[in-house]
């Protein structure tokens, strides 16, 4: 990259090649194929983190037992991306760098407080996903850096998990809204910790700390649920577009949270 500053890094190409095509025949930057580095596709456990190589395909992630055991909502979320062929091609690193507010793999990563590992000739840095992505299509990646790995801390204490995506059809659909949540309960049944993230309802995937705090220390009852849902819908900033209106998106986002809170055991971790 040092020798060829206009070069673009390409992972699966399922997004980049479409964008370059839309940009017209004159836009033909040199491409550097990350798929030629097989180590980038590794999925391993290291230092208590589940480490997913940026080049791991969605199909490989879905099928991997480490992911199914320790990040089941990520496995579920990547299974909703595109169709089977797209999932054989597209990668987790690509989905992060594309930084679409509708990136289906992202909300489970936000909820898990995942970190991205960036490597450059100058060294390696790690940064939280929520700090790394800072707008639609924008991230804090520097010119000479490669995203090599996604590290997901193992937090096996959460008893309830959920990922839901609402689209206009089941396959090849860009989400109208998606939701990922997890809850940890104390022995007396009060909520010890709640984490929620939504896709497609803000410029980036968004957590709502207020909605989470509305539950901590409380039992899940009509009152706490109502408060949490109200906080969530107030903190999201969806847009109107060809797929749905902002109002509809906000309503769906709240409904997905409500549905999870009303029946949090629906999706147990090990089914």
């Amino acid at each position: 990259m040092g020798e060829c500053p206009d070069a673009r890094l390409m992972a699966g190409g399922t997004d980049l090649l479409v964008r370059l095509r839309h940009a017209g025949a004159d836009t033909k930057p040199p491409l550097i194929l990350l798929s030629k580095i097989p180590e980038l596709a590794d999925i391993i456990m290291a230092n208590g983190d589940l480490c997913i190589g940026s080049g791991a395909s969605f199909s490989a992630i879905m099928a991997h037992t480490l992911v199914q055991d320790h990040a089941p909502m990520l496995a579920k979320a990547v299974g909703t991306i595109g169709g089977p062929a797209i999932r054989n091609m597209g990668t987790l690193g690509g989905n992060i760098i594309t930084a679409s507010p509708a990136g289906d793999s992202l909300s489970p990563l936000y909820v898990a407080d995942a970190q991205v590992v960036l490597v450059s000739p100058g060294g390696t840095r790690k940064i939280k996903i929520s700090e790394f992505i800072n707008g639609p299509g924008k991230s804090d990646i520097r010119k000479d850096e490669i995203l090599t790995q996604i590290r997901i801390p193992l937090d096996d204490g959460f008893q309830s998990h959920c990922f839901e995506k609402v689209g206009l059809r089941r396959s090849l659909a860009i989400a109208v809204a998606s939701f990922c949540g997890r809850l940890r309960f104390d022995e007396d049944g009060t909520v010890a910790e709640a984490r929620f993230a939504w896709g497609s309802v803000a410029p980036t995937v968004a957590r709502s700390i207020n909605a989470e705090n509305a539950l901590t220390g409380n039992r899940l009852d009509t009152k706490s649920i109502k408060k949490s849902v109200a906080e969530a819908t107030a903190s999201l900033s969806p847009i109107n577009d060809i797929r749905a209106s902002a109002h509809y998106r906000r309503t769906v986002a709240g409904a997905l949270l409500k549905r999870f809170l009303e029946n949090p055991q629906r999706e147990k971790k090990h089914v």
Partner: protein
């Protein structure tokens, strides 16, 4: 750039632009016009091929990416037992109307049938979920894949 790959069981070496789309390489340079281009942007599945046995969209794959890989196109089906059964099942079920989507449909179904010929109807639908058809309404296509699966399973058990 010089690339080498296996195409429907035969080795191929050729010289091409590294960023030539594989669909253009196959259709225009090699004359394999069985696969079709519908959208060119990864949304219709008409251009599906197999790379190392997995489905892939050739409209979003570049020549440099297939270097050293094993590529199967719809033209390769006639040399595979599963492929022949699958094509016959599409004919018998009347699953083909204009035909434009069919090569992609058959390629999408092939890995499933090879690995799990007894796949449930719902698994067939998932395997085909990235392929659009504007004619048939899909039912007969799923019927055809189901029929092929049954026949392949019988053949395999018979061995």
């Amino acid at each position: 750039m010089d690339i080498k790959f296996t195409l429907n069981g035969n080795s191929q070496s050729l010289s091409t632009e590294p960023d030539r789309r594989v669909i253009d390489l196959l259709r225009e340079d090699l004359g394999l016009t069985g696969i079709k281009e519908g959208c060119g942007t990864g949304e219709c599945g008409a251009c599906t091929v197999l790379m190392d046995g997995e489905t892939r969209l050739s409209c979003l794959t570049l020549a440099a990416q297939i270097d050293g890989r094993d590529i199967t196109t719809i033209e390769g089906l006639q040399d595979m037992e599963e492929g022949i059964i699958l094509q016959k099942a599409f004919e018998e079920q009347g699953a083909v109307q204009c035909g434009y989507c069919i090569p992609g449909m058959e390629m999408a179904a092939l890995p499933l049938l090879t690995l799990h010929p007894n796949a449930a109807r719902n698994d067939i639908k998932i395997a085909l979920s990235g392929n659009l058809c504007r004619c048939t309404g899909y039912v007969k296509i799923v019927d055809a894949v189901e029929q092929a699966g049954r026949e392949i399973a019988v053949k395999k058990e018979g061995l």
